[in-house]
């Protein structure tokens, strides 16, 4: 098993080295224009310099802080509203058209308004991230609770379980897998919202650096930050998968 893993790791490493070598060769021999696509050696140099000066860490810190805060606030609000909707279906019926209208709206279009309201700092990024996370987690919470096994609920009824016991012993644990899939998607969208808002207008963050580098034709820098964002996204998903395996080991 370990040897198999090593073999796959080696194959991936070789593939990446070949692709980088090919990119380097194509750009140095004039097959591709490094002004538009960057150059592997330039990308590595950019990353090295930014890691050494600490700028990359500062930007990443701001982006991750915005992502985690908006994810937490958006998820807590969504789960609370979801529980209220399941408990009081009339409330959901009343608010459904408004929430639908807000959900179909491209949330990034609200970024200029949020920047106006909350300024160029973290507040506006959190607002955009929250607005994306909220609806995803809300729908998964409602779907998760409504999708709880009818057999389990019938069992509770025949045993004379209280609403409290039924909710905490059966409904909530039964809904967790669906809620979790919403949380996983919500976290990715929180990152997307924060980066989007940083690109539009910000003082700090990976999105702000990306916009600046793009505007100044620093393609190596743009490519380097895109690579960092891809790694960040993968790490976030991996972390959620790890947590899911821990929490939902019974699945």
């Amino acid at each position: 098993m370990k040897a198999e893993k090593l073999r796959w790791g080696g194959a991936h490493l070789l593939f990446i080295m070949v692709m980088l070598g090919l990119g380097e060769w194509l750009t140095t021999h004039g097959w591709l224009d490094p002004t538009f696509v960057g150059q592997p050696s330039g990308i590595i140099r950019f990353l090295w310099n930014n890691i050494a000066t600490g700028k990359l860490w500062v930007d990443m810190g701001w982006t991750m802080a915005g992502t985690l805060i908006s994810f937490t606030l958006g998820s807590v609000a969504a789960i609370t509203v979801g529980l209220l909707f399941v408990g009081f279906p009339k409330l959901e019926k009343f608010f459904d058209p408004y929430l639908n209208a807000m959900n179909v709206m491209p949330r990034i279009a609200l970024a200029p308004l949020f920047i106006l309201w909350f300024g160029l700092g973290l507040g506006s990024k959190i607002a955009v991230g929250c607005s994306l996370t909220f609806f995803i987690v809300l729908s998964s919470t409602v779907a998760g609770i409504r999708g709880v096994s009818q057999d389990h609920l019938t069992l509770c009824k025949t045993l004379g379980a209280s609403t409290f016991t039924t909710f905490f012993e059966v409904t909530l644990p039964g809904a967790v897998p669906v809620i979790f899939s919403g949380l996983r998607l919500g976290l990715i969208y929180a990152l997307l919202g924060v980066i989007g808002a940083e690109i539009i207008a910000s003082e700090k963050g990976l999105g702000q650096s990306l916009a600046y580098l793009g505007a100044t034709f620093e393609v190596n820098g743009v490519m380097a930050l895109l690579l960092v964002l891809a790694l960040l996204g993968v790490s976030v998903v991996r972390a959620m998968t790890w947590l899911e395996k821990r929490l939902l080991h019974w699945q």
């Binding site: 096994s149 057999d151 019938t154 069992l155 009824k157 025949t158 045993l159 004379g160």
Partner: protein, 268 residues
């Protein structure tokens, strides 16, 4: 040496008394019509009949899951049906185990909901798991158990409640033939030991004959009682031995005849 059928206490109040029961959900075709059924304490009665004849509805009425809104009466030990009645244990067609709880925690669940102290519930659940042949599997999650084992845990959970009346809705309906026979044997043993009254819904005639003291045949649209057949096979019974018993096959044929007559009446 053959023993007489499991004794029933005819002097005590009835476990279930259904008299002239009518049920109509939406004002159109009645679901149940003029159903009268008395089950004595300690008696094992099976309900058989075609799909939609109201067997499960009758069971759910007894469990208090369906409100009784029509004519007639239904009483459990002299009282009206009540959802969550502590004197009633209910077993569903599927095992309905909670997948995040271990076999032991699942076997304890019903007792804990009904307020049995944790230590006592744990001890009784361990004993029941041993009784259903699952000693050593206490800490396994349902995903690691076979269908048959899961249904054994569900049996342990139901019998651990110690309710004097059990309502069972096709508990072995989703199992393969071999596992089903094993679990029928287990059910016979458990009933022999625990002496509870049972109302058992099934589609399987041979299962009904094998486990019951009486088999009640229902007919559909509306659900009525067509026949009430006493199963005078001696107890304790063994499913394997019953397959070779001529009287078992006679009873099976008799019940099959009643079912067929129900179909022809309905078609006619």
């Amino acid at each position: 040496m053959a023993q007489p059928s499991r004794p029933v206490d005819s002097n005590a109040s009835l476990a279930i008394a259904v008299d002239g029961l009518h049920l109509n959900f939406d004002g159109s075709t009645p679901v149940l019509s003029d159903v009268t059924l008395h089950i004595r304490n300690g008696e094992f009665v099976s309900l058989v009949g075609p799909s939609g004849c109201g067997k499960t509805t009758l069971l759910n009425l007894a469990a208090g899951l369906v409100p009784h809104t029509g004519k007639g009466s239904i009483q459990l030990a002299g009282a009206s049906p009540l959802q969550g009645n502590p004197h009633v244990g209910y077993m569903l067609a599927r095992d309905s185990l909670l997948p995040w709880k271990t076999a032991l925690e699942n076997a304890m669940f019903g007792m804990q909901v009904r307020g049995v102290p944790r230590a006592q519930a744990q001890e009784r659940a361990r004993g029941m798991l041993q009784e259903v042949g699952l000693a050593g599997f206490e800490n396994m999650l349902p995903k690691a158990l076979s269908h048959g084992m899961r249904q054994r845990v569900a049996l342990a959970r139901t019998f651990a409640l110690g309710s004097p009346l059990l309502l069972m809705d096709e508990p072995f309906g989703a199992l393969d033939a071999q596992t089903k026979l094993q679990l029928e044997d287990l059910l016979l043993r458990l009933c022999q030991q625990h002496q509870q009254s049972v109302l058992f819904v099934t589609h399987d005639l041979s299962e009904a004959v094998a486990v019951s003291d009486r088999v009640v045949v229902m007919t559909s649209r509306p659900g009525r009682i067509l026949a009430d057949v006493a199963i005078d096979l001696p107890r304790p019974r063994s499913i394997r031995e019953l397959q070779k018993d001529a009287h078992f096959h006679e009873l099976y044929a008799q019940l099959w005849g009643h079912l067929e007559s129900g179909w022809s009446k309905h078609e006619g």
